[in-house]
Structures are given as C-alpha cells and as structure tokens.
Symmetry: C2
Subunit: 204 residues, 2 copies
Amino acid sequence: MRTVDPAKHAAKRRAIVDAAAGCFAEKGFERTTTADICRAAGISSGSLFHYFPSKRAVFTAIFTDDAVETAERLEAAAKAADPWAALLDVVAELAGQLAHPAVVRLVLEAAAQAARDDEFAELIHRNDSALRDGLAVLVERAEDAGLIDPGIAPRAAAGWVAGLLDAMISRASLDPGLDLAAEQAILRTILIRFLRPVSPPAGG
Amino acid sequence: MRTVDPAKHAAKRRAIVDAAAGCFAEKGFERTTTADICRAAGISSGSLFHYFPSKRAVFTAIFTDDAVETAERLEAAAKAADPWAALLDVVAELAGQLAHPAVVRLVLEAAAQAARDDEFAELIHRNDSALRDGLAVLVERAEDAGLIDPGIAPRAAAGWVAGLLDAMISRASLDPGLDLAAEQAILRTILIRFLRPVSPPAGG
DNA sequence: GTCTATATAGCGATAGAC
DNA sequence: GTCTATCGCTATATAGAC
C-alpha cells in the first residue's frame, strides 16, 4: 500500500483534461483561462497546478491521450481479414467522430497551435505520422490482394486518405448544417474511385 | 482638392494589413500584440488605432481584401471557353498559393478563429460560399458539355473540390518538406477520377 | 495624422495555511 | 492534496501634445 493511489490520481487528471478539452474547444487555447478550466473541473487554481505544470501541458495532454486510442484502432484494423474493408471502416469511424462539434473545433485549434509552437507541432506530427503509417499498412495489404490500383504509392495514398478526413473537418466547420452521413457516402465514393483499380478484378 | 487623399489613406491601410498578416501568420491572432503590428508596419500605437478601431478589425481586413481577389479569379474562369480546363486551372492556382507558408498558417488561423467568433465566422463562410458557387458554375458548365459524370451533383462536387484544397492545406502544414508539385499532380488525379465520366466520351 | 505616455484590467503561476 | 490570496506582468485601447 502506497501513500498515493495512482489510479485515483490518473482519474482526476483525466477529469481535468476532459473539462479543459470542452473549454479549449469552445474558446480556443489563449482565450481559455486557467480559471475557466478550474470552474469546469470544479477545482481550484492550486489543484490545477498540482496536476499540471502549465496551461499548455493540459492542452497537450488531450492529444497524447487521443493518440493512444487511435493507435489501438489502427492496430485492430491491421489484423482484419479484409484490408480494403478495414480501410473504409477506419475512415468511417474517424469521420464519425466529427459529429461532435467539439472534436472539430479541437482539431482546428490543434492545427493552428501546431503552426506556431514547435514542441506541440512535433506531437501533432507524430500523431499524424502514426495515422498515415497505419493507413499505409492497410493500403499495402489491399494492394497485395489486387484490390488497389498498382500505380498508386501506398504512402502517398495514405497521406491523401488522411487529407480527405481533414477535408471533411473543414467542411464540417464551414457548414454547420452539413449532412455528415451524405458526405461520408461521397467520401467513400472518392476513395473507391481514387484507389481501386480502373478495371476492378472483382465486384465490390 | 480635398483635405485627405483617399489613395494615400488606402495605401497606408494596405501596408498595415500586409505587415499585420505576417505577424498573425507567425504567432496567431491572440499572441500577436498590437505592438508587434506597429513594429512590423513602422508606425506607433496611436497611428494603428487611427486606421483601425481594434486589433480584430485589422485581422478581418486581411480576409475581406482576399475575397475580392478570389472573386475576380472566379469571374475570369467562368468566361473561359473550356470549363473543365478552367476548373483545373483555378484549383492549381489556389493550390499554388500554398507554396507560401504564411498563407497556409493564415488559413489555419482563420479556421480556428471562425470556430469561436460568430461575426468573423460569417465572413469566412461568405468567402467559402463564394468559392463554392464559382466552382459549382464551372462544374455545371462542364457537366453540360458532357465532361463530368452526370451522377454527381454540381454543388456537392464543388464542396468537395474546395475540401480537397483544404486537404492540401492540412498536408502542407503537417509536412513541411512536402513536394507541392507532386501533391498537385495527385490532386489532379483525384479530381479527374472523382468527377469525369466513368467511360469518358473523349480523351483528356 | 502621428507621436509618447499611460490608464485599466485580466492573466498565469506561486506561496503558504490547513 | 486542496484551498485562498495575491504577485508580477503584459496587453488593448485612449488621452492629449504637436
């Protein structure tokens, strides 16, 4: 038995991060005050800085935590029997997260912050790179199975798949009344036409 | 002869906006101080607030000015003989602007600001809507000429063309060493495969 | 129209009791 | 570990001379 309970500490840390994520999504990093975070989390300033050394550390924690979840998703997809179906599934799942406006806003905020903070940019680039790597594995496996146009480089293709997800983020933020399901269908069409062989070897 | 020279006033205003755009691109809106803008423009605080009522007004001026230029581009494209070629040209021209890192950063900053400032969001949405309208006109004209898959709605297609440009912005910001020319070629491929008839009526 | 000087307010982070 | 109280600093915008 130890003086501190690591599980309790982690749970509280997580609660603070979740509360802060809502604030950052709503007002952005700079306009969110540490007082806002404290109010949202129901704690005092002293407590906040007991768990995190700075406001920025709270912000970055959101994205280190998220990276773990995405990595698990990609790992599971890599084991799937049908790599092409797994690719479409992963894309649909990631696109589905955009139904939450807070997620859209957080991604936009992260992109803006990464453009001017080198350390944070490294984190975001690592996350993006991990996503592209995971997607590239699926593209390669699908290509080996003859399900993808051989003229397309897996790595470049993976970059554009990630880019298409970013396109959806920008559409979702620019058009609040966007029909996400309809756009996901179009996204699927674009992926099929972009990646599949010009004369498919089989139906699908 | 008047007491104030409108041309001179406009020129100075423009000089301030240009200097400020550099600051905003580098540090973002909130972390750019009015003192930064004054230093970059070579003026004093008193002068800055003689030309603009607030820091935010300087920021928005960047995007109202840009809207005019884009509108002119689209107007010219609408008059072109070959609407399909004009569409590809406009996309290439807009994508080409991303060679300037400052442009990429400004767009990201604008997206983040629009997510939390309703008045600024209206401006950005108007600009985006004007872009989509201009692209939709080209898609429609190309469709009338049998150059585009009839199963694709022009308005939705235009949204995704704009989205693909946003995808390129995100790629450019996430990957500093990105080969822009190579990516533009892929973008072109995606557009052709996405929009053109499945069995083209002619070469091209 | 341009400047210098400054009012006013709010922020991130710390100190130290309990 | 959590709290209250507050320090030290920086920022936007204004006032008013020239």
